[in-house]
């Protein structure tokens, strides 16, 4: 009966959505959770169900002016307040301002004797009064499965659950129901049977000693949705999901140029530099000057008043600042001015996906125009080899869609054979520059060549790359004549 009602609603057009405000989640669900309907969030212990549910209410109250009700079956109000304070959510203040109502429902089976017929009207009454007390538009039941351990008459319970979900729909509230992961079913007690509209599973897995949280939309009736598993992060501001739906080549191609920061290199790139929003790969062996290359690029961007993000996977911020000072690049100045952010993390600190989510988060928050990834190849050490390329592609694609110019350093140990870059990301790059070290007699010289640069005239000859105390400089190799420009 309930089913036929739902179909008429969803068949006509895309369902109205209720934005969660959770970073990335609204993108993978194309707008949020089904408005006025219940959504089931399931997963094992510690996977982030309660957090996601609570964040949905807090953001609803703060960002969309939709008050919420949180019915807790597992944690007391006070515990919730304390737990969420550490994530930057001030539940107490929301409760005081009547934006949030928390009710802790405690059922202790050993205290209860059952005789004859009963129903769960008490739960309905409490929920109704809670909803009315704040004018709630959003409701969370975390986790309703506690009822199964509280009452022994399962047929009454199931009938009442069905009534509850119908009642929630009639109330027009957007609800999240959490459920503990079951062995055969999605949830221990098969809650998915009652929640037909949207089911999201959370997962916390450990692969090669590196833990990754993932989110997957199992179903979403009447709406398109991303079908991948999306990595997510629990950070100091709650959850952020990396929306990997951006694998389409939909980015706008800009014809605006941006200086590489090295005048003599700009000259090699049709006299103008890179395209804005393009991806530049700089390959080279150890000590060939890649980091200087990246630093000079961000220095130039900051000089033009643009924000730059430097993702350093091998050096700390201080190390990078000190080293670049020795070649006349003052990064500290830009950090102090708030134009440059140096995000330094050891690549093996966490999984590849987490790096991805962290990168996504810093880009969304800091809004840089220019990003340097130094080096992109160390990230392969943080994940399973096969996944690495897909992840790189996602990261580069995401940055491209944001219109960010990316310079990625690639540490190729194979030297001259480097044209088949280790993880094969070169095809994702618009401009590919190779730095080499050549030995002539007892002297090693740095050389630079442009292997490709899409959509522009560029120099084809190899040149000398000099690291001076004013940064990088490119010169013709003495004795080699310009042939082909």
């Amino acid at each position: 009966m309930a089913k036929s009602k739902k179909f008429t609603g969803s068949a006509v057009s895309e369902l109205p959505k209720c934005p969660t405000g959770i970073q990335g989640l609204d993108e993978v669900t194309f707008g949020g959770l089904p408005k006025g309907r219940p959504t089931l969030i399931c997963g094992g212990p510690g996977c982030g169900k309660t957090l996601l549910a609570m964040e949905f209410l807090c953001r609803g109250a703060l960002e969309y002016n939709e008050p919420g009700v949180f019915i807790a079956f597992e944690e007391r109000e006070k515990d919730l307040e304390e737990n969420f304070a550490s994530l930057g959510f001030d539940l107490k203040s929301l409760v005081r301002r009547k934006k949030l109502y928390i009710d802790y429902i405690y059922i202790e089976r050993s205290e209860i004797e059952e005789t004859g017929e009963y129903d769960l009207e008490g739960l309905f009454v409490r929920l109704d009064s809670a909803i009315n007390s704040v004018g709630a538009k959003r409701v969370v039941l975390d986790t309703i499965e506690a009822l199964f351990s509280g009452f022994s008459n399962e047929s009454i319970l199931r009938a009442e659950l069905r009534r509850l979900f119908r009642w929630l729909k009639d109330k027009g509230v957007t609800a999240i129901i959490t459920g503990e992961k079951g062995e055969a079913l999605l949830t221990k007690h098969g809650l998915e049977e009652y929640v037909a509209d949207c089911v999201i599973a959370l997962d916390h897995r450990v692969n090669n000693q590196i833990a990754t949280r993932r989110l997957k939309i199992i179903k979403y009736r009447g709406s398109r949705h991303g079908t991948n598993e999306f990595p997510f992060l629990i950070g100091e501001n709650g959850i952020s999901v990396f929306p990997m739906t951006s694998l389409l080549l939909t980015s706008n191609a800009s014809s605006v140029r941006i200086s590489s920061g090295i005048r003599s290199l700009d000259a090699m790139l049709g006299d103008k530099g890179y395209y804005r929003g393009s991806t530049i790969l700089v390959s080279g062996s150890a000590g060939s000057g890649k980091t200087t290359f990246g630093a000079q690029f961000v220095d130039s961007a900051c000089r033009n008043g643009e924000r730059a993000l430097y993702m350093a996977f091998e050096e700390s911020e201080e190390q990078l600042v000190r080293n670049m000072k020795s070649v006349g690049i003052n990064l500290k100045k830009w950090v102090d001015k708030g134009l440059l952010e140096i995000a330094s993390n050891r690549a093996t600190l966490c999984g590849l996906e987490m790096h991805l989510v962290m990168a996504h988060k810093s880009v969304k928050e800091f809004k840089p125009k220019v990003v340097v990834i130094d080096p992109i190849t160390t990230l392969t050490g943080a994940g399973v080899e096969g996944e690495a390329k897909a992840m790189m592609a996602r990261l580069l694609d995401f940055l491209k869609i944001e219109g960010i110019t990316v310079l990625a350093n690639d540490l190729s140990l194979i030297g001259d054979k480097g044209e088949a870059t280790e993880i094969g990301i070169s095809s994702l790059c618009d401009t590919w520059i190779r730095l080499t070290m050549e030995t002539q007699g007892y002297r090693r010289t740095r050389r630079i060549s442009i292997l490709k640069s899409r959509g522009m005239k560029h120099a084809h000859e190899t040149k000398d790359l000099l690291i001076t105390d004013k940064g990088l400089e490119i010169k013709d190799i003495p004795g080699v004549r310009e042939e082909n420009t």
Binding site: D103, I105, Y106, I107, E111, I112, E113, E114, T115, G116, E117, Y118, D119, L120, E121, G122, L123, F124, V125, R126, D128, S129, L147, G150, F151
Partner: protein
């Protein structure tokens, strides 16, 4: 045990057949076994929803034995007299 201590609260939600039956059953049991030594308070949660929290009421009807301590809860229409008597510790303790 001093029987005069029995203080009972019956939680209902509106006047439903189930709640009326529970009250009738309870009244009958008390008259038979606790005559003159009990008090029954009926709380209608539709009128006073806030009262559900104090005794953590979820199921309706719920009978709460406030006194003597410890608190006991019996849910359902109280149709099984024996279970009610056991639940209230009226029999089984001789």
């Amino acid at each position: 045990m001093k029987k005069s201590d029995y203080k009972l609260v019956l939680y209902v939600a509106g006047t439903t057949p189930k709640s009326l039956e529970a009250f009738a059953n309870l009244k009958k049991i008390c008259e038979e076994h606790l005559k003159g030594e009990y008090s029954i308070e009926v709380v209608d949660l539709i009128k006073n929803p806030k009262l559900a929290k104090g005794d953590q009421i979820v199921a309706i009807p719920t009978l709460v034995r406030k006194l003597p301590q410890p608190i006991k809860k019996i849910i359902g229409d109280l149709s099984n007299t024996e279970k009610v008597l056991v639940g209230l510790n009226i029999i089984g303790k001789g």
